[in-house]
Amino acid sequence: MRQRALLLFFSFALLGVQFSCRGKAPSVQPDPMLQAYDQERDWNNADHLIPLNFEQAQGKRIFYEKCVWCHADTTPAGPSNRSNLTPTPALINDGSVLNPMTDEFLKNIITLGGSAMGKSAMMPPWGRTLSQEDIRALIAYLRVVAQPPYQPPARPASQYSVKQTSKEENPTK
């Protein structure tokens, strides 16, 4: 009798153990490129691939349509117009020039053009061609390809900063 009770007890215990110990699948280190929407080759180092998220990938697309002609040394068509211009436009990945500029400044110079921001009038305004999202995407792209890498201003995320960004989303037209 006792034996049977013990047997019953153990079988329940086993059942319990089985439920609680269901093995976890071994985690495989994912390929970072498989986790990215798109990628861009670092212009200074062909072996370095930079993963891009959706927004940055849209920035890349707009860059290669509209901006590459003057802000890169090689273009999809071959030669670039960059060397033709004085002052020479910054390369899009030139962090030493672009990193100190704030997002706000970049947004304004792309929207309003160089002459509105005290820079060369050769940079045309894109505010009537590109949407606000396009311009945000372009800035996201140039930030992620910047060499030396771009460090966002060290500011702890707070409710205040969240509110501020949501205000920026409604540009005054």
């Binding site: 006792r2 697309r61 002609w69 117009n81 045309p124 061609t129």
Partner: protein
Amino acid sequence: MNHEEMGRPSQSLRLTFAIASVLFLFVLAISPLKDLLQEWKRYKREYVRFAQSRPDTKRLLADYHPGIDQIWIPNLNVVDRCSTCHLGITQSSLLDPSVPEPFRAHPIVPHRAQEWGCVVCHRGQGLATEVSEAHKTTLAWEQPLLPVGYIQASCGTCHRGETPETPQLNRGRDLLVDLNCVGCHRLQGIDRPAMIGPDLTNVGTKVSREWIYKWLKEPRTMTDSNGNLVVNGYENEEEPRMPQFRLKEEELRALSAFLSSLKSPAIEPYKFDPRVVAAWEKKPDLVQQGEVRFRQMFCVTCHSLAVTRAGETKLIGGDIGPELSKIGSKVNADWLIAWLRNPKSYLPHALMPRYQWTDEDLFKVSRYIQSNLTDPDLLSNIPALGSPRPDEIQLGQRVFLEKGCAGCHVIKGTKSPTDFGPDLSQLGSKTVSQLLFGEAKIPHTLVAYIRTKITDPLSVNPAARMPQYHLKPGDLEALTTALLSMTGPPATSGLAHLIVPAPQAAFRPAGRFGELYERYKCYVCHRFNGFGGTLAPDLSFEGSRAQRPWLIAFLKNPQTLRPALTSRMPQFGMTEEEAASLTDYLEMVTQSPSVNPESANPKNFTPEKASLGKQLYEVKYQCQSCHTIGSGGGYVGPNLNNVGNWMNAAWISAWLKNPQALVPDTIEPRRDFTDEEISALTAYLTTLKQNPRATGSSGKGGTPGGSQ
């Protein structure tokens, strides 16, 4: 047992009851304990702790509730419980990559998770509440998560047309067309074209048996004079459309025998004017003159040639037609001349335009091709094959059908098999249990299966007839993405209305214009109302843009002033009548509703206005950063030296007002010009005229992107 003891439970029975009740209590406790220890509850508790560590706790916990969360979208038939653990998915303050998963917010994408759920794009099991069941394949849950690198496949399940936001998917779809996958497979959204590979009905009149043998064995390889391989079609981006099949020696011999025996109808040699032959035959620079003509006609806009620069051999030129570096050693002389005179007589669906040749040009150019575009070693490593024997021909015909050659190549009198390869139009929705992995040592996922099937078909199925493709890494991912997007009809009726069909455009004009449009194959490079190639400018509104005399002169003698361009419009040798007919039609039909011919009256363009316009051009707006006038300026936009003869004033002013209204993808930014400024700039630009006799009269094309 005495009677007092009767009815009283014995000692052992008590013990059994005691153990049983303890066990019963224990069993009762299992269920609540299990419930308490569930994975998703752990994540919920973690999220609360995480939110408390953030400055905006209140906001992060505003929608929090301790149960299972789900996004339910009845009209899509979507029930997603992903947000049970992915609690911060809609919190804009959690976008930063330093936020630990699963609490990070979703990056900004066009479809918000609240409206679309997660599985519509990411696949996986929306109903599952365990990490492994939601993300991976288990026995009961078959749909694993799609790796983010292939996520554009999900865009393609609904967006059947081209979306600019998905470069990888677009590239993959282009590759499916370029690699002629529809030759053997049925694919979703890609129709069988009129011609896939060349029609081989009388290929024996074009090439020799040895050449066919070589081509079947190793399509497109090039060796230098020392026998070193310099261009390998498989290792660079110039992969030939013809894939490499695994053919045995006897199959190679049989196929080459069969194909070289196809010689009807025979080609009648063209009789050159004897005076032309007599005049040119003896000239020492005949071949050089032929080369000059070949270059002037801009054959390289569509065909590439191997060029060796600084010790590196590269193919330079377009990829619409085949590469021609060794064409002189490939084709038979009579065939070449017949082809150049009228490509349609050999291939009814040829893309090559029918040029107007003079006997002199035809003689020079064909001589140049036969003597310079050759490779004496092309067939040096081919065994002597002799003339085809009847048994070889018979075997060859069988091999032709068995290997699926007829999927792409037509031979009159031979029946083409339909659906030679498996139907791939629903490949993207196949579950792992539907796939056969064979001996392949690859992860058992659909993505790995598709990749392996393309790069190494034999490892998955030793009996596969599929040829092997050697794709660059990016292209392999793109092709896989395009195949994953083919999920067949939508899973639910709720999803059916989301399908955005690909636009079906065709422009097949009739009449004299239609005849010339077919003869010169305008649509291979130019686009008309969304139909045609993208190599050259869109001509949908050409009639509003160009002035009649300029257009006629351009068609007769196309010019460009952009030294950067390797491709430009070929010289077709059009007659005056042909150029005038084409121009008449374009001026009449291809008019833009945004351009009002009355809007710009040349009488208003006074010299004062023009000089104001010049000032605006040079100082205020600095247009010279992109456009060239005279000898200075940039070369992003077209050269404006002759714009006064080239464009209509109404077009210029409409363009300045809103370029995207006329050419949607032009790179010229839309500016904030006042009407006054537009009128002044138009006045200035219409004064820019060049003597038509001057060399390089005008640039052509709206954008560099559109004219390359």
